[in-house]
Symmetry: C2
Subunit: 302 residues, 2 copies
DNA sequence: GCCCTGGTTTGTCCAGGACAAAATCGGAGA
DNA sequence: TCTCCGATTTTGTCCTGGACAAACCAGGGC
C-alpha cells in the first residue's frame, strides 16, 4: 500500500505540536527529520510520531524541549515529573480509599465493572461527596498516571466517557428551573475538557443554582451573546491542567470586557493555579471555593 | 483597555479558518485587511471576525470564497444555500410532527422546557423510534437552521449538550456486558461531533451489541491500540456533515491498515455521503444501514 | 536567604513562492 | 438539448528562512 508515512497535518493533530513547531524543531535540533515525498513534502514515520508524543507528554510535565529532543538515548522513558503535582489537601487520605481499585478496572478495560463500582460509590457517598471525594481525586489520579505513561490514551478516553455519562445522568435528574443564580457553564475554544465543568455543575445545581451547560469550546463572542440572551448572573469557565497557562489572563480580560458589567465571571480548574488575581474575575481554586463563591453570591443577592 | 483587536491565533480558533488561509486571502482578495500592532502583527477587529464567520458559514453551504470575500455589499446576508440539503427520506413527514415546537423551545432558550418535551417524546415513542424519528431529524433541522443563520451558535451548543445528556443517560441504563459483537465507537482527531456516535450507540446497544464508547478525537494509532486491547469486532467511526470530505478516504485507508484484519471498520454520518466504496470498509448511509450491518454481522458469526 | 539583571531558549508570527486537488468552464459529440 | 471530457481557474496547504517577544534560567548583589 502507499503508506510512506504521515503528513504534517496529521502529525499536528495526533501529537498536538503545531506545524510551526515541527518545522522549527527540525531546523534547530535536527529532529524529527522526516522523509520527503515526490513533492518535497514531509512524511513522518510512525516511530517519529511515537517519539514526538512521548516528548510532548514530558513537556507537559515541565521538561524543556531542547534537552528532550536532543537527547538521543532512550533516557526519556525513565524521566520523572519535574513539576510534581501539588500534594492532595489534608483529610483526603481516607477519601482516597478504593481509588486504586477503580484505576485497576480502567486499566483492565472493564467498562461494565467500572460503571458498577462507580454507581456503588455514588449510592454510598451521596452525590455531593461522590463528586468531591471520588470523581475529583480520581480525575487527578488518572491525569497523573497518564503523565507517567502508566495509562494509555484510549484508557483515559474510556474513563472520561464513562464518568461524563455518570455525571450527566445525575445532573439531568436534578431539579432545573427558575432558581438563582443563573449560571452559564462553558469553556474557551482551546479547552475541550469537560469533566471539571460537569463536577462544578453538579455542586452548583445541588445548592440551588440554575445551570445552563453550553458544553466546551465556545468562542468568546458567543459566550457574551449567550450571557445576554440567558440574562445570566454568572459565567463560569473551566481550564484544565493541560491548558497553556500564559493565555489565561488575556482570555479572561477579553471576555470580561465583552460581558455585561452585572454578570460575574468565574474561572476554575487546575489550569488557573498559576494565574494571579484579575479585576472583575473570581478565581476558584478547587470545588470548595466554588461552593463558597455561590454562597457569597446568594447572601449578597438575598 | 488595551483591546486593539484579536490576534491571528484567536481568529483561527473562533472562525475555523487557518492562519494560512487568513493570510492568503489578505494577499489575494484584500480581505480581511487587519491593522498591525507595534510588532507588525495582525490585529483583527470584531467586525472583521464577524464577517469572516458569516463567510465561513456560507462556504460550508457550498459558496466559493472568491465571490464572497470580494463581494463588498451585504448581499451576503441574503444568500441561500447552493447545495440544498438532501430531501428527507419518504415516510419521514409524519414523524417530523412537533419538530418545529422543539426548535422553538431551543430558540427561546428554554432548557427546562426542551428537556421536558424530549422526555415526553421518548416516553411516547420508545427509545428506538425516538432516536430515529426525533433525535436524528431534529439534529438535521438544527444544522439547517444554523446554516441559514436562524439559530445562534450558543443555542446550537445548548441543544447539543442537552441532547447528549439525554442519550447518554439512556445508553448508561442499557444492559452492557459480554454480548456480541463488541463495537468501539469513536471519531478521528478532526471530528468532534459526538451526537451521531451516541445515536449509533443507542441503536446498536438495543440490538445486543457491546458498545465501548471512547468519545471523539482519537488519534488513529490509539484507535488501533484500543481495538487490540479490547479485542473489538468492529470499529465504528462517525463523520459529521462539517467534516472535510476529501480527507475521509485517506483516513479510512490509513486506519484500515493499522487495524487487525479481523476487525471490521464501519464509517457513518453525513460526512461520508460523497465517499465512494473502499475495500475493507463498510459505509453506513444512515441509521437503518447501521442496524442492517449489525444484523448481517450477527448472522455471519452466529 | 531573596530580588534584580542579562543571556538563552522557545513558540509564534511574517513574507512570498509553489503546487496539486477541486471546481468550473467550454466545446465536441450523441 | 444534453452529456461527457479536457483545459483552465480557483483555492487550500505546504515550503523556506528570517525575526522577535515572552518565558525561563543563572548568577551577582543586597
Amino acid at each position: 500500500m502507499n503508506n510512506p508515512g504521515f503528513d504534517i497535518a496529521t502529525v499536528e493533530r495526533d501529537t498536538g505540536l503545531s506545524k510551526d513547531v515541527l518545522r522549527v524543531w527540525e531546523r534547530r535540533y535536527g529532529f524529527p527529520l522526516p522523509e520527503r515525498d515526490a513533492h518535497g513534502e514531509r512524511r513522518y514515520s510512525a516511530d517519529q510520531v511515537e517519539r514526538l508524543r512521548l516528548i510532548k507528554r514530558l513537556m507537559d510535565q515541565g521538561h524543556r524541549p531542547g534537552k528532550l529532543v536532543a537527547a538521543p538515548l532512550e533516557t526519556l522513558t525513565g524521566l520523572s515529573p519535574r513539576r510534581p503535582r501539588p500534594a492532595p489537601p489534608a483529610g483526603a487520605e481516607t477519601a482516597a480509599d478504593g481509588l486504586d481499585e477503580l484505576l485497576d478496572l480502567i486499566r483492565r478495560h472493564d467498562a461494565a465493572g467500572y460503571a458498577r463500582a462507580m454507581q456503588q460509590r455514588l449510592a454510598r457517598q451521596g452525590l455531593l461527596r461522590f463528586v468531591q471525594d471520588t470523581v475529583a481525586p480520581l480525575t487527578g489520579r488518572v491525569g497523573e498516571e497518564w503523565e507517567n505513561g502508566r495509562i494509555e490514551v484510549f484508557e483515559e478516553h474510556l474513563f472520561t466517557e464513562l464518568t461524563k455519562r455518570l455525571l450527566r445522568q445525575n445532573n439531568a435528574a436534578l431539579p432545573a428551573g427558575r432558581q438563582r443564580p443563573r449560571v452559564i457553564l462553558t469553556s474557551v475554544p482551546e479547552e475541550q475538557h469537560v469533566l471539571g465543568l460537569l463536577m462544578a455543575e453538579t455542586l452548583l445545581a445541588l445548592e440551588g443554582a440554575d445551570c445552563i451547560p453550553l458544553g466546551t469550546q465556545m468562542p468568546l463572542l458567543e459566550i457574551a451573546r449567550a450571557a445576554e440572551a440567558h440574562r445570566a448572573d454568572i459565567v463560569a469557565l473551566s481550564f484544565s491542567v493541560a491548558f497553556p497557562g500564559r493565555r489565561v489572563p488575556t482570555l479572561l480580560q477579553q471576555l470580561r470586557e465583552l460581558l455585561p458589567p452585572g454578570t460575574a465571571l468565574w474561572a476554575g480548574g487546575a489550569g488557573i493555579q498559576r494565574t494571579s488575581p484579575l479585576p472583575g474575575v473570581t478565581l476558584l481554586h478547587g470545588l470548595p471555593d466554588a461552593l463558597q463563591a455561590l454562597a457569597d453570591w446568594q447572601r449578597e443577592h438575598a
